[in-house]
C-alpha cells in the first residue's frame, strides 16, 4: 500500500508549502536578496548606476566620518526613544482612560485614531503650518498680547526633533492606543476583582499585573512602532526637509539622498547596510525567542 511508505519530507504539508511560496519568495528574494544585493554593492564605488568595482571599506570609513550621518543617527536615536516612550505611555494612558466604562467611548476612540488615516506627508504639512512662527501658534499667541512668546520648534535646531515628535505622536499614538485597548479588553475581569480584594491600588494593578499580562500586545505594538521609527523619512521631508541646517536629518533620508541626489549609490548602500545590520542585531535574537521554539501538539 502506498501509505506504508513514509512520505518524503519535501512533500509533507505540500499544500502549505505551495501556499507559502509567495511568502518564501518575498522573504528570500526580496528581503534577503535585496539586502544581500545592497550589502554587496556597499563595497563598491557605484555612483548613479550599480557597478561592481570594489573599494573595500572605503564607503564605510567615509560614512562614519561624515558629520551628517552621525547627526542622523543621533537624531533617530533621540526621536526613537522618545517616540517609543511617549507613544506607549500616551497610548496606554488613553486606552486605560477609555476602558473606564465611559460614555462616548466610540467618539473619543475615533478622534484619537483618525490621524492614523492620514499620511505622514499630510501630517507634516499640517503641523508645519501650525508650528510656523509667522502665522501659526506663535503668531496667534503674540497677537494676543504676549509679544515675547516664542514657539518655533521647526526653526530652532535645538528643539526641531521635538517638533517632529509632536506631529509623529499625533499621527501614530492612536494605533498604539487601539492595540492597548484591545489588550486591556483581553484581561480577565477576575484579575481586577482579585486586585481589589487584595487592596492593590489601581495604578499598581496596571503596572504590575495588567501590563505584564499584555505582553503580546506590547510586542505587536513594538514591531509596528519601531518599524515605523526606523523608516522615518516622509515626515521629516514634509516638515523640515532635514533642517534647519542638518538638525533634523535622519538615516533613511541620508540613504535616499546619497543614492539619488548625490548619485553615490555605494555610500547610500553603506548607510542602509548599517541600518539593516542594526535592525538585524536587535531583531534576530528576539525573533527567535519570540517566534521560534514554540511548538504545537
Amino acid at each position: 500500500m502506498a501509505d506504508q511508505v513514509r512520505p518524503s519530507r519535501l512533500f509533507k504539508n505540500l499544500n502549505a508549502k505551495i501556499a507559502s511560496i509567495p511568502m518564501i519568495l518575498t522573504a528570500v528574494v526580496v528581503f534577503l536578496g535585496g539586502t544581500a544585493w545592497t550589502i554587496l554593492y556597499s563595497f563598491t564605488d557605484s555612483k548613479l548606476l550599480p557597478r561592481l568595482r570594489f573599494v573595500g571599506l572605503d564607503q564605510y570609513e567615509r560614512l562614519w566620518s561624515a558629520p551628517r550621518w552621525l547627526i542622523s543617527i543621533e537624531n533617530l536615536a533621540v526621536y526613537g526613544v522618545l517616540a517609543l516612550i511617549f507613544s506607549f505611555g500616551i497610548g496606554f494612558m488613553l486606552a486605560a482612560l477609555l476602558d473606564q466604562k465611559i460614555r462616548f467611548e466610540d467618539a473619543f476612540r475615533t478622534i484619537f485614531l483618525y490621524p492614523f488615516a492620514l499620511s505622514f506627508v499630510v501630517t507634516g504639512l499640517v503641523w508645519q503650518w501650525i508650528l510656523n512662527p509667522d502665522f501659526g501658534v506663535q503668531h496667534i499667541v503674540r497677537s494676543l498680547g504676549w509679544s515675547s512668546f516664542t514657539f518655533d520648534p521647526l526653526y530652532n535646531a535645538d528643539i526641531v526633533i521635538y517638533g517632529l515628535l509632536f506631529a509623529g505622536l499625533w499621527q501614530g499614538t492612536g494605533l498604539v492606543m487601539c492595540l492597548m485597548l484591545a489588550g486591556l479588553r483581553g484581561i480577565d475581569e477576575d484579575v481586577w476583582k482579585a486586585a481589589r480584594v487584595d487592596g492593590i491600588p489601581t495604578w499598581k494593578t496596571y503596572l504590575f499585573i495588567v501590563i505584564p499580562m499584555m505582553r503580546p500586545v506590547f510586542i505587536t505594538a513594538l514591531v509596528i512602532v519601531t518599524s515605523g521609527i526606523v523608516k522615518l523619512y516622509d515626515l521629516v521631508v514634509a516638515m523640515t526637509g532635514g533642517g534647519p541646517g542638518q538638525a533634523s536629518e535622519v538615516p533613511a533620508k541620508y540613504v535616499y539622498e546619497f543614492m539619488f541626489r548625490a548619485q553615490n549609490l555605494g555610500q547610500g548602500f553603506a548607510a542602509s547596510t548599517m541600518m539593516l545590520v542594526t535592525v538585524a542585531i536587535i531583531l534576530i535574537p528576539w525573533a527567535y525567542l519570540e517566534f521560534g521554539g514554540k511548538r504545537r501538539g
Partner: protein, 410 residues
Amino acid sequence: MKSMNLALGLLASVALPSVALATDLEVTHWWTSGGEAAAVAELATAFDATGNKWVDGAIAGSGDTARPIMISRITGGDPMGATQFNHGRQAQELVEAGLFRDLTDVATRENWAALVNPPTLLENCTLDGKIYCVPVNIHSWQWLWLSNGAFEKAGVAVPANWNEFVAAAPALEAAGITPLAMGKQPWQQAGAFNVLMVGVGGSDLFLKVYKDKDAAFAAGPEVAAVFKAADDARKMAAKSNVQNWNEATSMVINATAGGQIMGDWAQGEFQVAGQTAGKEYTCLPGLGLNEVISTGGDAFYFPKLDDPEKSAAQDVLASVMMAPATQVAFNLKKGSLPVRGDVDLSTANDCMQKGLKILAEGHVIQSSDELMDPDSITQINDLFATFFSDMSMTPEDAQKQFAALVGSAQ
C-alpha cells in the same frame, strides 16, 4: 484611444512602415512653478504643432523628488519619451550605459555645433563625439533680486551692489523687513554662497576652488573673505522662515524682504506677479560687483525606445526644442537665456537684456554642477545648510571643512 494608437502603431510598424501617425511622447520634468509651467507649455505647444502629442509628466518638488523616478524608470526598462536633467554630470552614467538615444544625426543636420553659444553647453551633452542631449536654456545663478518697495519703506536708496545691500540691512530691519530672503533648503544656501564667491571673490577665485579643486587655496585668506560675506548673509537671513525658493522670492515681491540671492529663474515669479524690472524690483547680476554669469542649464535627454514611431517623434522633439521660435518663447517665459546666439530677444525685459549682454561679451564661467560631481556638491550643500542655520558655527570652522571637501572632490 491610447491602446488603439498602440495597435495601429504596431500594425504600421509591421505592415505599413511609412505611414506617419501622431505619436504620444511622455516628457518628464520638474518644472511646476508658475513661470516654469508657462514655459513648458510653450515647448508642448510647439511639439503638438508637429502633429505629435506631448504627454506631460510633471513631478513637483524639485529634481530631488523627480530624479529617482526618472532613473528608476530608465533603468527599469520602462522609460519615458524624454526627460529633463540638469546640465553637467548628473546623467553621464546613464549615457555611458547606453540608455540614451544618440542625437548626433539631428544635431549634424541642423548644425547645432555652430549655433549653440556658449559651446560648453553642447560639449556637456557630448560623449565620445556623440551628442546625447538637447540644451534648452542657460541658467545663471549669479543674481541679486531687490525689492524697490522694501527699500522705499526703509527710507534708503536701492543698493547698486552687495556691499551697499549689507550696509542697508540695519535700516531694513528697523522697518520690520527681513533684509535677505532665503529658503531653508541646502541647495539654495550653497548656491547663494557660490554666488558670493563669484561676486565677492571673482571668477578666478571661483575656478581655482571648483575647477582646480585647490584645497590649500580654499583654506586661504581670499576665500576667508567670501566666508565673511556669507556670515553677513546668514545674519541678514536669520528671520527668513520659508522653505521653497519661490516662497522667498514672493517675500521680495511683497516687499517683506529686501532681497534674495537666486538664479534667473526667479524672474519668472516676478513676471507672473505682474512686476516689471526697474520698477518694482531691481536685478544685479554678479551681485553688482563682478558681472559674470555661469552657464549651467537644463537639458533634455531621450531614452532609447523600441518603438520606431516614438524614436522618430523623439528626433522631432529634439529639433523643436532647438528651433529659434521655441527658444525665444520658452526662455521668455522661463526667464532664462536661449542656448543659441542667433535669436531675436528684443522683447526680453531689462534683466534678461543684462544677461544677454554679459553672455555676448563672453563673461561666463562654468557652473559648479558642471565642475564637480553630485556627490561632492551634496556634501558641500550639507555644509552650508549647517552653516546658514547654525550661528554657532564660525566662518573659520566652515572654511576648514569646506577646504577639506574641495580637496577630496573629483
